[in-house]
Symmetry: C2
Subunit: 346 residues, 2 copies
């Protein structure tokens, strides 16, 4: 073999290599490797235990074509409770903090609130007395702070509040008190063709201004409690005015009703944390084919809160019994989650 021949061979090899490197096959190979690396652990904040395994086994079987459990993409509907499932709910629902902050902000326009319960207690910073009046008092405060304005005005109020308000104990913005493992779960499901919905007892128009940024869930996939609204022309401009009249309570038996009303298709996966989610899980479980139901169990007093059967907020009692009896996945926040909130050390 002479040198000239050898060089020519090398050159040909280099050309071949270049051609290969520039070829679509090469790019697809590299892209595939990159995808596989990303896909290696779609749930990095979950410890490798039975909860994580049950989630992944479910997703794998319903997305595997030819599998007896295969579910076509349009039917891959997953529903998530919000308070206590996607973000925290202690020491009280975050929307209640919004109500109290709004009462303080609106107080100058309502001098009569100084002497009128439950508003007077809120203004004195006495939350316990403010809530002593039960549902009636709470509803009065919600109506006073959530109605009268247009839907657009209310959305702006919520956006401004959520951008600045801080949780009284952790001093973190509420949108950072979401659960990192659940954010990963939402993304993992969507990457597998699922449409993810929020189905919350919270106000539908309280959630929509921020769910797209925080959860990747667009407003049309948010279901919640609502007041009635009325279409009006104001100076020729069409507006929707929020009326002081309850429209729908999206809790307990209301959750399947809300799901049917908004989605019109039974979910195949449901995620909750309290007895208020039980009917949603039952409704999901009762469909034919593969189903997945999961309860988040708050048992991590060190990193979050620990509460279940006796808790006033997020009571998980009947739901826990039913989950155990039916073999639903129960997530131990303490054991199953490496991280609770985003940005924490693992």
């Amino acid at each position: 073999m002479n040198r000239t021949y050898s060089m020519a061979k090398n050159e040909r090899s280099i050309i071949k290599l270049k051609a290969f490197v520039l070829s679509p096959i090469f790019f697809m190979f590299i892209f595939g490797c990159a995808l596989q690396a990303l896909a290696a652990d779609p749930l990095p904040s979950w410890n490798n235990g039975p909860a994580k395994q049950s989630i992944m086994a479910f997703v794998e079987k319903v997305t595997k074509e030819g599998s007896p459990d295969f579910v076509p993409v349009p039917e891959r509907i997953a529903v998530f409770d919000n308070d206590g499932t996607l973000w925290a709910e202690q020491p009280m629902y975050f929307q209640a903090f919004f109500v109290f902050d709004r009462i303080k902000a609106l107080a100058p326009q309502h001098p009569e609130w100084k002497d009128k319960e439950p508003f007077a207690s809120v203004l004195k910073g006495d939350v316990k007395s403010a809530l002593a009046g039960g549902d009636r008092a709470l509803m009065e405060m919600v109506m006073a702070t959530h109605t009268g304005m247009t839907s657009e005005e209310f959305a702006k109020i919520v956006k401004d509040w959520i951008a600045t308000a801080k949780h009284p104990m952790t001093k973190r913005p509420y949108t950072e008190m979401v659960y990192q493992p659940m954010l990963e779960l939402l993304a993992y499901l969507r990457a597998n063709g699922f449409k993810t919905f929020v189905v919350s007892g919270g106000g539908i128009e309280f959630m929509r201004p921020w769910t797209e940024n925080v959860y990747g869930i667009p407003p049309e996939q948010v279901i919640g409690s609502s007041g009635k609204t009325k279409f009006e022309l104001r100076d020729g401009k069409p507006v929707l005015v929020r009326l002081p009249e309850l429209n729908f309570v999206d809790d307990k038996g209301g959750k399947p009703v809300g799901i049917n009303q908004h989605i019109g298709r039974r979910p195949i996966a449901a995620f909750g944390n309290s007895d208020g989610d039980l009917q949603m899980l039952q409704w999901t479980a009762a469909g034919t084919g593969a189903r997945f139901c999961l309860y988040v169990h708050h048992n991590d007093a060190a990193r979050e809160w620990a509460y279940d059967r006796q808790s006033h907020i997020g009571t998980l009692d009947k739901g826990l019994d039913e989950a155990n009896a039916r073999g639903w996945t129960v997530v131990s926040m303490k054991d199953d989650w490496k991280t609770v909130f985003p940005g924490e050390k693992k």
Copy 2:
């Protein structure tokens, strides 16, 4: 040039040609040509007039990145009325034929209907007398035929009916009395990143069983009028029971309310055919940025029906004035549509 050399050259050319034909570039080229051919006219059943041009100009400007009118994909929401906009509505709403057929089917279980109006008239085939009682009589018939069963049972009743029922005048299935140009428009918008919604005065659970097959619109993108439902456990099995109680009327001012409730985002394009759609078009038009509003004008007595200001069904009076005053697109079915129903000669 000797023959051997020439053959070798030909062979090389053939090999090069084969290599090219099998190359990904070639496939992409062919695929691209095919796509372009398909894309050449996305609205083949529309005559090339101002209506078609206005639709295409709007879609082009909102989808062109860098354009001042560009709209990001999640905000590309388009809402369509159903009766008279996506399918026909004469001589009466198709859901009314469903009501009458259900009354006939249920009559053996209701011997009392023989002597009770409006049922007695329906059973005698006297539609005019049955409808003489106005809204009250109609509501009575709707409640008698649309409630008492579970949501799933009702969906099956609708599916069975729509699969077999025929329009009394054309003898075609109702699902073939949809407008071919509107089917093309729905597909064209979706191909351009739009999410298409039905927003109809018709029953939400009357439409959902067939909109996905017929319009490509999944149940979660169907908004309509509804009755209340109740979650129950029947022999341990969760069901939603349809109650004889009105929940929501998705007509006139109810359309923007329903859009806000279900979508939570203002549409950028709205399509209707009657005064019942006017508030939906006003609500859509009042947003900032590029907006598109369109009325289908039924003026083709030869191929469909001709009616507008004086019609009892699908009245288009104020809407027509406002469309003309505001420069909204008004589709002349006679002049703008090559084809009305699918399968017709063009």
